[in-house]
């Protein structure tokens, strides 16, 4: 059973030590630049010269590579094929398959878009690998994000695996009483119903109890909250964020200027 739903890998590196907001800014900046910069090769260069080196700097390259390829490659490939075939641009047909044709332009177009998606998901993966979710949330709460919002995010991440485990328990219990979960598709679909009731209603009851439990621990207290962990936000963090902001502005400006 999974203990929690999180990609985070506990290691000590320059990237791990960055303030969570700085890392979030990095993700957003890379994505915005990949999508807005007017030069064709920007996303490819970002991936090769920024994201992959950053994952090495964060000492998570093997995990990054594994997660990124598993997560994105199928989706990016699909996107690439769809766009290559169905994008009605260009004259120079390279390949024809019945009524579908690939032109050089559509191929280039599809390649860049697939790359943009690759940049988006892989930076986000890098972020998740090097940032502990509770660190991110306590940092954002300190900066004014409502505590309730942070709570919803974190508790969902934690409770989903618990619900999964509970669903398994309910299925096992139902099967031990003769529920058919292994024959034809229709029968199996029917056997989902007896699972839904206990799981959903059980969870509703739990929500009430959990609300009482956190309320008893001052969750809605009007005092300013404090945080157990100190999350450093150094001058270098602030500097990096300004640089990133400048890059984003430059990229958007270049896009408007050159188009």
């Amino acid at each position: 059973m999974h203990e929690r739903l999180s990609f985070h890998i506990k290691r000590d590196s320059l990237i791990h030590r960055l303030n969570p907001l700085t890392k979030l800014a990095l993700v957003l900046a890379l994505v915005v630049v990949a999508f807005t910069a007017p030069w064709y090769w920007t996303p490819h260069i970002l991936l090769l010269l920024a994201i992959i080196p950053l994952s090495m700097l964060g000492r998570v390259f093997p995990e990054f590579f594994k997660t990124a390829t598993r997560l994105i490659l199928p989706a990016a490939t699909f996107l690439f094929l769809m766009q290559a075939f169905f994008q009605p641009i260009g004259e120079d047909v390279i390949f024809k398959f019945y009524f579908l044709d690939i032109t050089q332009e559509s191929l280039m177009f599809a390649f860049r878009n697939a790359m943009r998606v690759f940049v988006m998901v892989s930076t986000f993966t890098l972020f998740l690998l090097t940032t502990h979710p509770s660190e991110l949330m306590s940092d954002l709460t300190r900066r004014g994000l409502p505590g309730q919002f942070a709570y919803v995010i974190i508790s969902t991440l934690q409770i989903l695996p618990q619900m999964q485990a509970k669903a398994q328990t309910i299925i096992a219990a139902q099967r031990s009483r003769g529920l058919d979960t292994e024959s034809t598709f229709l029968k199996r679909a029917g056997s989902v119903l007896p699972l839904v009731g206990p799981l959903v209603f059980g969870s509703l009851v739990e929500v009430e109890e959990r609300a009482i439990a956190i309320e008893a621990r001052g969750f809605t207290s009007k005092h300013a909250k404090t945080s157990l962990h100190e999350i450093p936000d150094l001058a270098s963090d602030k500097f990096i964020r300004w640089v990133l902001l400048a890059l984003v502005i430059l990229s958007i400006a270049a896009n408007l200027w050159l188009s």
């Binding site: 203990e3 929690r4 502990h132 509770s134 505590g147 942070a150 709570y151 974190i154 508790s155 934690q158 409770i159 695996p161 618990q162 739990e206 109890e209 959990r210 609300a211 009482i212 439990a213 956190i214 309320e215 008893a216 621990r217 001052g218 969750f219 809605t220 207290s221 009007k222 005092h223 300013a224 909250k225 404090t226 945080s227 157990l228 962990h229 100190e230």
Partner: protein
């Protein structure tokens, strides 16, 4: 005046036809350890919720009478102020884990973060509370990876760390083994001796007889009996009204009919029973 003071409290949950609490009068002094017993549906948990402010603030419904703790009246207070004085831990430990924290240490600190305790003080209070309940070795574990009994200890510690003046516990040891139960009861007893007022719902009569100062027996939302543990727990009224009875009490009661138990009072614990039967021989 008593530290906890309930005057004619009658309460009905929304959408129900009969009151869950009927005309409850209860006074508890500071530092007193009061146990509440009763069959299922007697209103034990509702009474806990009433003391902890969740009735009526959280559950709504109709309430009459007054509930006072530390000279403050529940109906004139808000829930977030009320929980600073009154801590509540209840039976199901799984649902008491906040879900917002990844380690037991952070989990216990959750309440202190919410009420704005400074970081250094927070750390030392969490350390102390964990030492008190004997869960120091769990500090870095995920709260979800623990056993039911361990989770109950974490839930109890999470409330103790907030240093409430009134501690309300609704079957806090239901998933613990006998050794764990004894340890936790010992801890609670010590907290009471140090001045914390404790209200505890419990089915294990032998433990109540050993640790509580007073017992309140609830039946259908009203107080049926109230007094010293040994008087209340051995009363025939309890047996007639479907309360759980200590097996030692039942044995001695049967023994009395057969002429094998000659003492006036019936026992609740094993030691008392042994003592009494020896007395005969």
């Amino acid at each position: 005046m008593a530290f906890v003071n309930l005057q004619n409290v009658t309460y009905q949950y929304p959408l129900t036809k009969t009151p869950a609490l009927q005309n409850i009068n209860l006074q508890i002094n500071e530092g007193e350890f009061v146990a509440i017993v009763g069959p299922n549906g007697a209103g034990k948990s509702t009474l806990c919720y009433a003391l902890a402010g969740f009735v009526p603030h959280f559950f709504k419904g109709e309430i009459s009478g007054t509930i006072e703790v530390a000279d403050k009246e529940s109906s004139k207070s808000t829930l977030d102020e009320w929980v600073l004085n009154v801590g509540l831990a209840f039976q199901n430990p799984f649902n008491q884990i906040s879900g917002a924290k990844y380690t037991v240490f952070e989990e216990i600190a959750f309440g202190l973060e919410n009420i704005g305790v400074p970081r250094e003080e927070m750390k030392s209070r969490v350390e102390d509370a964990m030492a008190l309940t004997g869960i120091r070795d769990l500090a870095d574990r995920s709260p979800y990876s623990l056993s039911g009994g361990q989770q109950q200890r974490v839930a109890l510690t999470s409330i103790l760390v907030m240093q409430p003046r009134l501690l309300v516990l609704d079957e806090p040891t239901s998933q613990m083994d006998p050794i764990g139960t004894r340890e936790v009861f010992g801890t609670i007893r010590k907290m009471a001796e140090d001045g914390m007022t404790v209200v505890l719902v419990e089915h294990k009569m032998e433990w109540i007889a050993q640790f509580a100062d007073r017992v309140v027996a609830l039946k259908d939302g009203s107080v049926l009996l109230e007094g010293k543990p040994n008087e209340v727990l051995t009363s025939t009224l309890l047996a007639e009204n479907g309360f759980g009875i200590s097996r030692y009490t039942s044995t001695a009661r049967e023994g009395k009919k057969q002429g094998l138990w000659k003492k006036e009072n019936l026992p609740v614990t094993l030691d008392e029973a042994v003592e009494g039967f020896k007395h005969n021989a």
